[in-house]
């Protein structure tokens, strides 16, 4: 057969071989798929470890173990708080992430803004929502511009005991 028939075939073969060689060097060795197969999980296996290494910022102050860590040093405050209405709020929601506190960060950046309190205590006319159980104010009418913590104690918000 004449060479003009073979030539395009050589070109195709060269391209395929070139691609495979490039792929061989470029694709990391740990590329593969787990038990979910090629369609859903063809990936670089070491990436899973990379995600696990992402630094943690918030400690375990949620529902499960919320008062354990903080009460070791701040026992008195935590005690007041846990017996109170605000006892359901994890400390870190207002006090900021504190995984390695007191080492790093040494001092927590407490959010004392009005906006923080208004997240729950803005009065919204939703009678069917859990929101109805939380006392709410009109942000524009109730002492606008003044921080809530100037009058209310966030650890003990009962109005009868307000200073």
């Amino acid at each position: 057969m004449k060479s003009h028939v073979w030539r395009p075939l050589y070109v195709v073969i060269a391209l395929v071989v070139g691609l495979l060689v490039f792929r061989f060097f470029y694709v990391p060795n740990d590329f593969g798929s787990g038990k979910r197969g090629f369609m859903y999980s063809f990936h670089r296996m070491s990436n899973e470890e990379e995600w696990k290494k992402q630094p943690v910022k918030y400690g375990a102050t949620g529902k499960e173990r919320m008062h354990e860590y903080c009460s070791a040093c701040h026992g008195a405050v935590v005690k007041v708080r846990t017996e109170d209405l605000h006892g359901i709020i994890p400390c870190e929601d207002c006090h900021g992430p504190a995984l390695n506190h007191p080492e790093a960060p040494e001092k927590l950046n407490i959010d004392r803004t009005r906006e923080l309190c208004l997240r729950c205590h803005t009065s919204l006319p939703y009678t069917t929502s859990e929101r109805k159980r939380i006392p709410g104010i009109d942000p524009k009418g109730h002492n606008p511009g003044i921080e809530c913590v100037k009058c209310h104690n966030p650890h003990n918000p009962r109005l009868e005991e307000m200073k």
């Binding site: 990936h43 918030y58 949620g62 529902k63 997240r119």
Partner: protein, 257 residues
């Protein structure tokens, strides 16, 4: 050479050359099983308990270094308001990063709608996040193998390998993915993979004061979350898409999708 011979060798060469090298690597099933204890992460949202405080969004963005002022978020809270004259409004300003501190509805494009409190029929809040589907459409469309489902059921994005084409962002029926404004890769909820693999709750579960968000191993029948999913009336979002979501909702309404 005969015509038959020529065609035969052509087919052989093409067939041989088109086998990818990765197809020749063998996976040892025992190795895979050893590295994979039987964990299947699932999320449970109790919409009856949510008050729309947005602490979960704040915790998620802080924990995962998502820029606070950028209008992208891995998890968000939606507000649904039904009026007595049968109109329905949904909004989620900034993904509820700062909660809902106004009664007016954000219609987008700087327009707002004030609803007469007497006209409000029912209203509720729904937290949303990646559903970590069993058959995720987002991982199927990735052209480079940068997004995948782990063996324990979490959908992740390989930030080093992602080319930022955005196919997965389009493919997700739940709009759970976004383009990371700083890293220029696709980004999404990881179920806080760095936390759950250390035995901690995810940041949003940790931050929720009302227990509206919970997480557990759906393969463990004694897990409280599994028990709730089995015994409560739960629903999933967009079931008809066949994605088999692993985020379950208690108190789901027809309008929540």
């Amino acid at each position: 050479m005969e015509r038959r011979e020529f065609l035969k060798s052509c087919i052989m060469v093409i067939a041989g050359a088109s086998v990818p090298l990765s197809a020749l690597t063998l996976i040892d099933p025992r190795k895979v099983l050893a590295a994979n204890p039987d964990i299947q992460w699932a999320f449970l949202v109790d919409t009856n308990k949510c008050v729309g405080c947005g602490f979960c969004v704040m915790a998620c963005k802080t924990e995962n270094d998502i820029p606070l002022d950028a209008n992208v978020t891995r998890t968000w809270v939606e507000r649904y308001v039904y009026t007595k004259d049968d109109r329905r409004y949904v909004d989620s300003p900034k993904g509820a990063l700062n909660g809902y501190t106004e009664s007016r509805i954000d219609l987008g494009k700087g327009e707002f709608k004030e609803i007469d409190p007497k006209n409000v029929g029912k209203a509720f809040f729904v937290p949303k996040l990646c559903n970590h589907c069993t058959t995720p459409p987002c991982t199927q469309v990735c052209p480079v193998g940068a997004t995948y489902k782990t063996d324990d059921g979490v959908v992740l994005v390989d930030r080093k390998w992602c080319i930022g084409c955005g196919y997965c962002i389009m493919a997700c029926p739940y709009a759970a993915r976004f383009f990371h404004p700083l890293l220029h890769v696709a980004d999404k909820c990881t179920f806080c993979y760095h936390r759950i693999t250390k035995g901690l709750d995810s940041a949003c579960v940790n931050a929720c004061p009302f227990g509206a968000r919970r997480m557990g191993n759906i393969h463990n029948i004694n897990d409280p979350i599994t028990q709730l999913i089995m015994n409560e009336r739960v629903g999933v979002l967009k079931d008809e898409f066949g994605t088999k979501p692993q985020a379950f909702y208690i108190g789901l309404a027809q309008e929540v999708r």
